[in-house]
Amino acid sequence: MAQHQGGAHGHDAHGGHGSLKSYVIGFVLSIILTIIPLVLVLNDYVEGTAANVVLLVTAVLQFLVQLLFFMHLREENKPRYNLMSLLLGLLIVLTIVLGSIWIMTYNTVAH
């Protein structure tokens, strides 16, 4: 704050914060990815494992759309700190989820 020029105004100086086109594409994609699971599950087109798979796949795609179109992951200058912290975050999220499943599956107390 003290060194780079002005908090509120400095924002523009970095430039390249996406274009109207990319925002619209992102918006449409995220709506489609929301509608697909909603329609499939509400109308009982898929059930059980298939439903879970559809939900998970669309959720992951939704995550990517958010990162690429709204979080500007593609437009970062080097060094790519945002990308690095994202990868570390993913590693830790995977550890939390898979680790918990692994620990709880063989847990003799929880059963």
Binding site: M1, A2, G6, S85, S100, Y106, N107, A110
Partner: protein, 657 residues
């Protein structure tokens, strides 16, 4: 009507224990005297303008340190009460319920409200000065972090006299912390106190990562950064990934208690083991969060007082970053006995042992830095030298605990208590004390008295070993943690008595430190050089205490230990490689009352949630949102210090030389 008020007050205020009445009286007296002094000396305006609304990282750091020393006092008194209760068999000093409350608050306060704020205080004071910045990246957020921590801590501490303290251990394991087993408000104080201050911790983590990555002085490459700043970076990376886990876990516990959900309950499909699993995913990285900056402090001090460059700079950086990532892969070693099978236990035993490798690398780096150095035994260096053997013993008992089959014997015994106190006192507390002594002249412009400091040092160190060495043997003799009473025939009496004596020696050591500070404020000479230790890094290149803007012109960095290299060139009669820079107006953030007001609103809301009084919770939350809006629409947040004023300030500060 009167009866009703009486009944309400009987539930609302904690009653029936003379210790609590004593606390009531001392809190009331302290409040009255603070208000009287402020009013008598007409200091309310000064307090508000200079401190409560400040966004200056140096002042925020000082407030963090004052708060953490108060919390150290409270946590220390808790510890001595416990040690008194178990000094001898069959003592009836504390009731078992009261003992439960005290070990719970001791743990929470020492980790979350003492170690964390002391660490953040040192971050705030040192990091911007060390990397040649004029403030942190987000000064407003920094002030908000402090006040969120402060009011969270106040909310937690209030439980002592109002409503009743939490008593389910420092991590509040479910199902004991669930409504079915802890129906009182103590657990709600725990949840809200920690949640509110947790937001502050997370924000500080983000703030310092951005500060370090984006605001280093021109020319300072990451690999030339002082080691303390590296340790802050590694600690903050761990904070931003670990604290959300804590927030989510406690939020789920809150849903269980408040809305009747079944995440961790015994019935309705809940799984209490999941709570233990989740809380340690935060809890394990947490101990590395507090110890990594201490490693950074030791690295700075060992180089300064050996008059040598830090040995193995690169390996130190890699060791720290590896520790901060590996800390996320070891959490199960806190509950080997849960019984997740040999494969799971073996995996986590190995990851735990792996952490000993980078830590060992660091110990050798410190030793080789001292090797053939010209060592000065000032108080910061003495704490550093005392830390090394203490931490090595603590680390080795940790490796013993990491052997999963053996852990079934050590688990929850006094062996474990001795181990983690050895790494937390010998590693973290010693480190922060060393850091306080080392950077004290930078904060206040005078050194702390060495003679009293050495008394405090020896009392703490002897007291430490007298207190915790017997506990290893008590653990092996079968004494488990959290027992409030034991009989004569257990044979634990003599060792416990020795341990209690050690505890009180550390208490006397603390009193010596208070005396040392009071004495030094009155009698110590002002340091006019700004560099009393013959330091190596940029914070010593400016006057003490540093002016508001820190650096009149931003330093141009060419080397690791740039200030030292520059001094060496001058001593050898070589011209300085620095070109004098012209003064320019300095862009600074304006003070703001919003962080303070917003944190008060959080405090009110938290209080409402604790007692389920929407009459407090709703206005509190509305206040929070109004503050957010007010901040979003305030554009007048910064100003420039004109060149004339910088010239005047610099002349006044440097003229004394």
């Amino acid at each position: 009507m009167l009866e009703k008020i009486k009944e309400f007050a009987g539930d609302f205020f904690v009653t029936g224990d003379p210790l609590i009445y004593g606390a009531d009286v001392s809190i009331a007296l302290a409040l009255i005297s603070i208000i009287t002094v402020l009013t008598y000396f007409k200091k309310w305006g000064w307090l508000w303008r200079e401190w409560l609304t400040t966004v200056d990282h140096k002042r925020i750091g000082i407030m963090y340190i004052i708060a953490s020393i108060l919390m150290l006092f409270r946590g220390g008194v808790d510890a001595l009460l416990m040690r008194t209760q178990i000094a001898l068999p069959d003592v009836h000093f504390l009731e078992p319920e009261h003992y439960n409350q005290i070990f719970t608050t001791h743990g929470v306060i020492m980790i979350l409200f003492m170690a964390m704020p002391l660490m953040f205080g040192l971050f705030n004071i040192v990091v911007p000065l060390q990397i040649g910045a004029r403030d942190v990246a987000y000064p407003f957020l920094n002030s908000l972090s402090f006040w969120m921590f402060f009011f969270g801590a106040m909310l937690f501490n209030m439980s002592f006299v109002i409503g009743g303290s939490p008593d389910a251990g420092w991590l509040s394991y479910a199902p004991l912390s669930e409504l079915s087993h802890s129906p009182g408000v103590g657990q709600d104080f725990y949840i809200w106190g920690i949640q509110i201050s947790g937001i502050g911790s997370l924000a500080t983590g983000i703030n310092f990562i951005v500060t370090i990555l984006k605001m280093r002085a021109p020319g300072m490459k990451l690999m030339q950064m002082p080691m303390f700043s590296w340790s802050v970076l590694s600690s903050c990376v761990t904070i931003i990934f670990a604290f959300p886990i804590l927030t989510v876990t406690l939020a789920l516990l809150f849903l269980d208690r408040y809305l009747g959900a079944h995440f961790f309950t015994l019935d309705g499909g809940g799984n209490p083991m999941m709570y233990v699993n989740l809380i340690w995913m935060w809890g394990h990285p947490e101990v590395y969060i507090v110890v990594l900056p201490a490693f950074g402090i030791y690295s700075e001090i060992v180089a300064t007082f050996s008059k040598k460059k830090l040995f193995g700079y690169k390996s130190m950086v890699f060791a720290m970053m590896i520790i901060s990532v590996l800390s996320f892969f070891t959490w199960l070693h806190h509950f080997f006995t849960m019984g997740s099978g040999a494969d799971v236990n073996a995996f986590f035993a190995i990851t735990t042992m792996l952490i000993a490798i980078p830590t060992g690398v660091k110990v050798f780096n410190w030793l080789f830095t001292m090797f053939r150095g010209r060592i000065t035994f000032s108080t910061p260096m003495m704490w550093t030298i005392a830390f090394i053997p203490c931490f090595v013993i603590g680390g080795m008992t940790g490796v013993l605990l990491s052997v999963a089959p053996a852990d079934f014997q050590f688990h929850n015994s006094y062996f474990l208590i001795a181990h983690f106190h050895q790494v937390l006192i010998g590693g973290v507390a010693f480190g922060y004390f060393a850091g306080l002594y080392y950077w004290w002249p930078k904060m206040f412009g005078f050194k702390l008295n060495e003679k009293l400091g050495k008394w405090a040092f020896w009392l703490w160190n002897i007291g430490f070993y007298v207190c915790f060495m017997p506990q290893y043997f008590l653990g092996l003799d079968g004494m488990t943690r959290r027992v409030s009473e034991y009989s004569w025939d257990m044979g634990w009496g003599p060792l416990n008595l020795v341990s209690t004596i050690g505890g009180f020696l550390m208490g006397i050591g603390f009193l010596f430190q208070v005396w040392q500070i009071a004495h030094s404020i009155k009698f110590m000479e002002r340091d006019t050089t700004g560099d009393p230790w013959n330091g190596r890094t940029l914070e010593w290149s400016i006057p003490s205490p540093a002016p508001l803007y820190n650096f009149a012109t931003l330093p141009q960095v060419q080397n690791q230990d740039d200030w030292w290299e520059d001094k060496q060139r001058k001593a050898n009669g070589l011209p300085s490689t620095k070109k004098p820079q012209p003064l320019e107006p300095i862009h600074m953030p304006k003070n703001s009352a919003i962080p303070f007001i917003m944190s008060v609103c959080w405090f009110v809301a938290g209080f409402g949630f604790v007692f389920d009084w929407l009459i407090f919770a709703i206005p509190g939350m509305i206040g929070v949102f109004i503050c957010l809006l007010a901040r979003s629409f305030s554009y007048d947040t910064d100003y420039y210090i004109p060149v004339d004023e910088i010239k005047r300030t610099e002349a006044a500060l440097r003229g004394a030389n």
